[in-house]
């Protein structure tokens, strides 16, 4: 069986970000997979070395548009430790509201793209319509729908009104109902079940060995969540339960993320009731000087553990800032999950780790040219995978259900 390379990307219609895949296939089976990135690298770490401590927060939030709140909050939390500032509790509450609301919006966005990649476009429109409510909440809370720059070094930049908090509680209940609806849908729809279960399985040992993070690891039974291991900010007090499953396939990843929408909704409701009074931030001078110190700040972004390392040698600018994004840790698990699968599973497995390429412009393994090349645009890949799936539904049903 001669094997040839299937190239997808780097610029791809359904793939919102530039990422290059090369799959070495023999017939339908994928023998080897390589990911080729670097198309999204802007040199932010070097740029951060030329920004002051305060400005850096607003550059760090542009690492990724979907999890900008996580990057922004993680940077501000780290710099508060560097400058030894204690943000007021109300400011921390507002920052955590932006974290949890962003987890709901990011998971809903992922659910829509995941349904779209496996061919259910109506569900893509349904989920993204529900997501519009989080965008309205963000616009009211922070003044902008995406990249909200809500917190700053020393707390939060805007206060929340009582009316907003009651609206937040109503919307949190709505998100829980929608999460129930999608969970029942995913568990009852035979085509969704057949498409997602036993696809791209990541065993617990592989997840541990490859240091996978976030829902990808939790779906394989690995108890890893920064809010659980090392509760930062106000996560000691909020009601939090870690969600894990054992199967490790795409269905388990979907259910873990849908369940996490409910957990985030519960946290939002709890926070709306227990919001403390007081002011919102401690104002710092724009050219604040920092003592020579090293700090690591870790936050649970929607895709996993996000780590910022600061090194300051005294002065108004950081000496070195290291950003390790969650998607970077989940790239090797893609290759482990996809080898041995079919071409039709490529879109599902790749989307199942919720790759945020803007986050992780760090990984590339260049392929080895063997055999002739064949380029499939992704839209045809989805159409092809739907047809291939219909043809083999009966025989597959036996194998997968």
């Amino acid at each position: 069986m001669s094997s040839f390379n299937v190239y997808i990307g780097p610029i791809h219609p359904a793939l919102k970000e530039p990422i290059g895949f090369t799959f070495e296939v023999e017939g339908e089976k994928i023998v080897k997979a390589n990911v080729n990135l670097g198309y999204n690298h802007r040199g932010i770490e070097k740029l951060l070395e030329s920004k002051t401590w305060l400005q850096g927060a607003f550059v760090a939030e542009h690492v990724c548009g979907i999890c900008s709140g996580a990057h922004h909050g993680c940077y501000c939390q780290g710099v508060e430790e560097v400058l030894d500032i204690e943000p007021p509790k109300r400011g921390l509450f507002i920052r955590t509201i932006s974290w949890e609301l962003e987890r709901i919006h990011s998971h809903l966005l992922w659910l829509g793209v995941f349904f779209h990649e496996s061919g259910f476009d109506t569900l893509f429109m349904y989920t993204w319509r529900d997501r519009e409510r989080t965008m309205d909440l963000f616009e009211e809370l922070s003044g902008r729908r995406v990249v909200y720059s809500l917190s700053t070094v020393g707390g939060a930049r805007r206060d929340v009104s009582e009316a907003f908090l009651s609206k937040l509680k109503r919307q949190a209940r709505y998100f829980r109902e929608r999460a129930d609806f999608y969970e029942r849908l995913v568990l009852n729809d035979t085509t969704v079940l057949a498409r997602f279960s036993n696809v791209g399985i990541l065993s617990r040992e592989d997840a541990l060995a490859l240091s996978a993070v976030g829902p990808t690891a939790r779906a394989s039974g690995v108890l890893k969540d920064v809010r659980y291991e090392e509760p930062y900010g106000i996560y000691e007090e909020t009601p939090f339960r870690i969600i894990t499953r054992r199967e490790g396939d795409a269905l388990a990843k979907t259910l873990v993320r849908i369940e996490e929408i409910k957990v985030s909704a519960e946290i939002l409701e709890w926070m709306a009731d227990h919001m403390p009074g007081g002011d919102v931030k401690v104002k710092i001078p724009p050219l604040a000087k920092a003592p020579p110190v090293e700090v690591i700040s870790r936050v649970e972004a929607p895709r996993g553990e996000l780590l910022y390392y600061f090194k300051s040698t005294g002065g108004t600018r950081p000496y070195r800032v290291k950003i390790r994004t969650p998607t970077l840790a989940n790239i090797l698990p893609i290759i482990k999950m996809i080898e041995g699968g079919y071409i039709a599973d490529i879109p599902i497995v790749v989307a199942s780790i919720d790759p945020c390429i803007a986050c992780c412009e760090r990984v590339t393994i260049v392929d080895k040219d063997k055999g002739e090349k064949k380029v499939i645009p992704k839209r045809e890949l989805i159409r092809y995978s739907k047809e291939w799936f219909k043809r083999n539904l009966k025989e597959l049903r036996g194998e997968r259900l």
Binding site: G56, G143, N188, P286
Partner: protein, 120 residues
């Protein structure tokens, strides 16, 4: 579909409920209170201190010599094609001379067409 009733109910409920689409250009849509859009700069209040240019993360504000405020004083010029609309300048301006309005129609055929609103 083992239990397909609820999905049909959802579809029918969506069918009968009001359309979710906002017919945008024919229906005018206002951004919410506190939206950070086009910059409004009040030249009368400005003292030319340059704190906004110092604090801007995108280096979008340049201080330009301008005698309108006081002879020999410098005035900030906002490059909206570089600005990241974070409103740090408005927050740190001591004389509250900068405000970000709700105007989000920042479209132009050339980069220079999108300008900040300068009020004497």
């Amino acid at each position: 579909m083992k239990e397909w009733g609820f999905a049909w109910r959802e579809a029918i409920r969506r069918l009968v409920s009001k359309a979710f689409t906002v017919q945008y250009p024919f229906v005018s849509v206002e951004a919410m209170e506190g939206y950070r859009g086009r910059i409004e700069y009040y030249m009368s209040k400005c003292t030319g201190c340059g704190l906004c240019a110092l604090v801007c993360p995108a280096k979008a504000i340049t201080m330009v010599k301008n005698d309108k405020i006081k002879p020999g004083r410098r005035m900030p010029v906002f490059d909206l094609a570089r600005c990241c609309y974070c409103a740090l300048c408005a927050e740190y301006c001591p004389s509250k001379a900068i405000k970000l309005t709700k105007d989000y129609h920042l479209v132009g055929y050339r980069k220079e067409d999108v300008k900040a609103k300068v009020i004497e």
